[in-house]
Amino acid sequence: MTTKPLKLRELAKGEDRFTHGHRMCAGCGAPIVVKQVLMATDYPIIASNATGCLEVSSCIQQYTAWKIPWMHSAFENAAATISGIEAMYRSLVKQGKIEDKEVKFIAFGGDGGTYDIGFQSLSGAMERGHDMLYICYDNGAYMNTGIQRSSATPFGANTTTCPAGDVIPGKLQHRKDLTRIMAAHGIPYVAQASPANWRDMMKKVQKAFEIKGPKFMNVISPCNRGWRSKTNDAIALSKLAVETCYWPLFEIENGVTRVTVKPK
């Protein structure tokens, strides 16, 4: 399949595979991330989703915002779930029971479902070499349950479980550098992205889909509820995160690191 050109006019003509009508908060970064990921490619996609904001808000009773086959099973296992789906695809294609349609497999998880409770499942799936792309939308805390600290929460941050109190000023620990940890798995492609740099992010998604094997992308995703920011600030904040080098944009392809956006 040829890689589609990343021109806004062309992209806008494509069918939304993640539709409006979902119940994510106004101004949330996560649906922007999902839309950019799905818009980057015309490959058929099957996705799994860890329990979290994106999952509870996108498929409720008989309503779904997903126009791709999509599965949520639990919180800590988006990677294991997609690995089962991908294994079944390989099995049925190999046996000639279904046609190979170059299906691409994605797992979506928040930082809670990725850095913390789903870390083992993610590490296992990457080590097994499934042909999949794991996308973490990192909003820096357990936002779905009400802004509790995660291992992605930055040092000093005020959350509901590490509140800035009279004695303890907030989170005392530094965040885990998950992107580097994923790179240490020796997988063929790891990247960090930001929805403000949409072209950079979509290029990375396109590149990931042309590589066989496990891929991981960590994407910053502002949460106005958790960050106490305005509902129209998500893109500005994800831009600032890049410009201040809080969230550097880089990729690690076959072990070689390349900074993809150099802040001025």
């Binding site: 009773q61 126009k67 099973s73 639990a74 990677a79 690995s83 089962g84 099995s91 279904i98």
Partner: protein, 392 residues
Amino acid sequence: MGKIVAVTGNEACAQALKQINPDVCAAYPITPATDLMQRFSSYVNDGKVDTELVLVESEHSAMSACIGAAAAGGRVATATSSQGLALMWEMLHIAAGTRLPIVMPLVNRALSAPLNIHGDHSDGMGARDTGWIQIYSENAQEAYDNTFQAFRIAEHLDIRLPAMVCMDGFIVSHSIERVEYIDDADVKSFVGKFQAVNPLLDIDNPKSYGPLILTDLYHEYKRAQHEVMTKVPNIALEVAADFEKMTGRKYGLFEPYRLDDAEIAIVVMSSAAGTTKDIIDNYRDKGVKIGLLKPRLFRPFPYLEIANALKDVKAIAVLDRADSFGGYGPLFSEITGAVMSMDTKPAVTNKIFGLGGRDYLPDQAEKVIDELIKVAETGKVENIKEYIGVRE
């Protein structure tokens, strides 16, 4: 007639999985089930099956991958024991609630703490309410036969539920017994082709699996799950009838043994039923009218059918190879539940035996029967729950 072999329970189950040839198996090793998937792995690597084997990093991921694979739309199996099943617990509910026909041999083993690798039913009983069909096997032959039947029941279009095929850890999984294998061609026609229902891999007709359902419909959803479970016994009997036509081996919801004219009865599951039958024969020779009932289908539990089979007995001893601390044994609770529907209620006692692989010996059965004879005479039960074969 198929080939007669001398194999362990694990070997027989691995052979059954080989003959069934699932599309995906995701598994994680745990004693005493390790040997089963280990054998199956060599079938995969020797090209004897088409299965994609997903060697995950935990049982939680094993069941998660099975769930993904089953929703993708193909035949799926795994196997586990004890702590492995406990770690899967969350996902067991999701497999059943999502109506995915995964089949899992469960090699029954005690739960920690203290750590113990030997056979009892604590693991299976702990998964009683997960929504899985549970079939218990007395020996290697039954474990082998039940595996085929489990696929047929689980995948039946009126059912679509996951099923566990249970056998006693070590006592059955690692003992060599005579087993009659079924020819591959017969297995193929008995199990049939997998029929996918709403497969995720149907790219052109996208489905969403795993929605959020709150107060407005969750209750109805769960009632529907119960209702589909109530259809299982009839399907299990249909499948058993087909199986009998193929092999001559007869299976029911439970096995009654010398129960027709029995005045007292022992209810016990799995391998301990074999030992108990021998002792019952001895007492029958002495003129004691005693019989045995061995539940096979534990979930759904056939309350009315079992009540009917036990309706003429005066006293029942229920032997549980699992415990509920501060409560009665799980099998006892089911049997007393069945007794509720009887016009004349028998006296029922509960004996906890064989925990953590403690041997269940003939003298334990004899003591139970001697006491049961007295209970039947007096109609009085002194201690409802007692531990047998226990060191004081």
